[in-house]
């Protein structure tokens, strides 16, 4: 694998960090559509589309379903154009690739892989997500995490990282899960547990609620049980886990925090993209 050449095309600080990471492992790497990125050396910025073995597109791969997402470039590259220039046998990676683009690639006979779907990416990304959530909690609450009661909804990847962190701060943590086995593990790890369908009762003592579950779990009923000064941090992607209208009506503060890795730790987030792509290449 050591001889592969990479090109990182489009994206933000994360693309630069992924590029540096790949280079640090001894691979050749260029960038394209990143000419305004100050963190990238001039000599690594290509002006014409570079030939490579592996092309890594950003997360998200596009914002308009037509061109590659490239906020740090004055140029614009359509996927049609991109696909037409690709060398044969090149592998192409991107994050959150819409079906439309996937189909277009398939028609063009291009191998397109989504690193956002890889288990490694999702696990590793839970770390900057959890750190970002902790930062928000410290910043937004008028009390210390120490001494609070907190509820983490969901016992997936993010929940597994965030719950021990909250406890390390001296918060008394309850973890809600739908799954009996997850609950048994959470007990062994020393957390209070509750079934996600029964959180109303537990919710009433909570100072902080962090939702990691990808569904509308913080309903009107749950909201009506909360203390007025409770803080909700919602990490669920659209449409989110909180009934926002009701929360607003009740005056309960909700912070809907999406894309924390890119905002809170772009360099780490970039390295995670790099290592996930490498691992996917390894397993091809």
């Amino acid at each position: 694998m050591k001889k592969l050449k990479f090109t990182f095309a489009g994206g933000d600080l994360r693309a630069g960090a992924a590029h540096e990471y790949i280079k640090s492992l001894g691979f050749l790497s260029d960038t394209f559509l990143l000419e305004k990125a100050e963190s990238i050396k001039k000599c690594d910025k290509c002006i014409v589309f570079p030939a490579s073995d592996v092309y890594v597109l950003p997360l998200p791969v596009t914002r308009d379903n037509v061109t590659v997402n490239s906020p740090l470039s004055d140029l614009s590259l359509s996927f049609d154009n991109f696909f037409s220039m690709l060398p044969k046998e090149a592998s192409v990676f991107g994050g959150m690739i819409p079906d439309e683009i996937k189909n277009k690639a398939e028609e063009a006979g291009i191998k397109l892989y989504d690193y956002y779907d890889s288990e490694e990416f999702q696990i590793k990304n839970s770390v900057p997500t959890a750190e970002g959530a902790i930062e928000i909690a410290i910043r937004e609450m008028p009390v210390t995490l120490f001494g609070t009661k907190s509820l983490v909804i969901g016992s997936g990847r993010i929940g597994r990282v965030i719950a021990p962190l909250l406890r390390a701060f001296g918060s008394r943590v309850t973890v809600a899960s739908r799954n009996h086995e997850a609950a048994v593990w959470n007990e062994i790890y020393g957390f209070d547990t509750v079934n996600t369908s029964l959180i109303s009762e537990s919710a009433k003592d909570m100072d902080l609620i962090i939702n990691t579950a990808p569904s509308r779990v913080i309903t009107k009923e749950v909201l009506s049980c909360l203390k007025k000064d409770a803080l909700i941090i919602d990490l669920a992607s659209r449409p989110g886990g909180v009934d926002m209208d009701e929360a607003s009506l009740l005056g309960i503060r909700v912070i809907w925090a999406l894309g924390l890795p890119g905002k809170c730790a772009p360099v780490s987030a970039g390295r995670i993209i790099g290592s996930s792509v490498l691992n996917m290449l390894d397993n091809m």
Copy 2:
């Protein structure tokens, strides 16, 4: 002690939180010079100077050495005036009381106690200080705390709280102390250790340096060893622990963070004032 009446005079959100805390324990409590504090109930705001057994002044007690520090009031109260209105036998507490004011009180036969000097206050205040420092570190670094190397200088109260927190995030933590016994304890707690006088060598690998020692420990020599993208968070009170001119010359980022408890967790900081005053009264 249960029958004591308290007055909180001047200060900010912390005074309101201390007042609520004292009331929650069953004491009577009023406020004065806090009429603009939204968190305090109208009926608890005195317009004329209230008679009390205990008066609690803010931290810091004054900013001009003449009047009580009262940013949430349109009124101004000089210490001369304050002392002249005090009931006999009243106990007066304040934080960071200048010698000038202490002397004035002594002349007037007033008992003036500084809660900022109490061990309980200092220990408890290390918690919001540490949380505030963690918030800064997450916010300001482009990488996650996970995977970093960090150096905590000083093994006093704040160091003892912040080092385990950094480790909980997955940072590899070195603790610098001047004291052999502190180093033995830090080893037992699983930290790497270094003598504070020898940190230059250790410093060169560090991504994050948090100084809690009250002296100029981050000298030109130490700074010259640091990575260019290292972040220094200095928690030392004036004049600070970092050679700022040199840091600026070298382009090393330093965040000098003072008064974190009041900024980052004012309600907890207020309760700490309340509990420290109570404990001082208990021990009189």
Copy 3:
């Protein structure tokens, strides 16, 4: 479910503890074939086979494939006999039920469930197993766990409990797994990681090796890399994870520790049987 009547038949201290646990939750419960168990009240010991809704047999359910395992009884009960006396509709639970007995039950139209196979049982049992392994390590090593290097082979249930415990003692822990995702998680949790197929290299520094993997992972090659005073604790069931002949030849100490829950924490082990049976009943 609250009206069910239980009978615990055969077994050791664990049966008595499971019986007490079930009673403490408000169920009726008797015991049979446990007349010598001092921990069980006389009035709870049946002399004739009691009618019940649920019968719980011990772990292992039999040692001779003919009679119920009943070391605390002078009586002997064959499975033929047992099945012939069972009330219709009774549910029967046992641990590690041989196929022979399962088939016999099926022929007799008896519902026979193995709690040893339940995920809850296996997860919860990892706690007394891990504690027992720690006890052995402290007892058998001439050094403290603090300051050692240890290798936990396997990242399943037991590995997930034992690795954090070793770290809490101040051991530097490496976790070996075959699975890339498990390795990513172990990194996030702060452990050093190695692929199980490559442990020879890591093994050479280790003071303590705990094997939880159910296969012959500690081969001649691995053994030849070990320090002479390393201790191996093998938790793998027959035929075990260590090449015992080679270990003996090399003079390396191996402790093959099976059935730790029953030996090291029989009361907890009994409660785990009770709660696993209840959970299985719940899900029927």
Copy 4:
């Protein structure tokens, strides 16, 4: 200091381990009165009294106040004899030196230092003591530490090591101290706290009580509050912290565990002696 020559005279496995440790740091070292110690190389065993710069005697230094404690030797060495043979300027170290011997040394103009009194020794020795206590708790209790309630009496060196270990096992830990500041720290570290003079109330829920306080804290009154199946592990040196007659009357199990480092981790205990002596020499 690098040129010093050491002799370890008398003692047990610990002396051999201290000797090896000192040699591993590049010093010369011999042993005397340890001829039966299998762990020591023949060439390191002196038959005639060796000339040295530093002599290290065992812990305890004597059992009869007349001769050096030497269970691994057929010889006997009186202190009179020992002192008469010492080279001028030699430094002599021992553990738990009785006043009688100290006086005799002073008369003879010999410098005699007690490493047992050094802070470093006491801190480091708390690690094998705590591990030994954990081993006893796991072995002697019929339940797992996980899920228990435990009380650690005393917040000194041993308490500071043992309380976090118990918590790591999933025990809910209360720490008793006499000192308000210690209690504040224990709260910050996440332990429940109680004043040592008020433990009767807390004691009634406890499954495990570990006493580290050097006084009779577990009185008749405390014992009368305990559950019948509670286990007490007493780490206090003579006369011990438990009213043993009363405990026996009430049928409460007490394990009085002295000298755990030498029993449970002799090699580590020996290294601790070695490093403490070195540190004392450093500070002379």
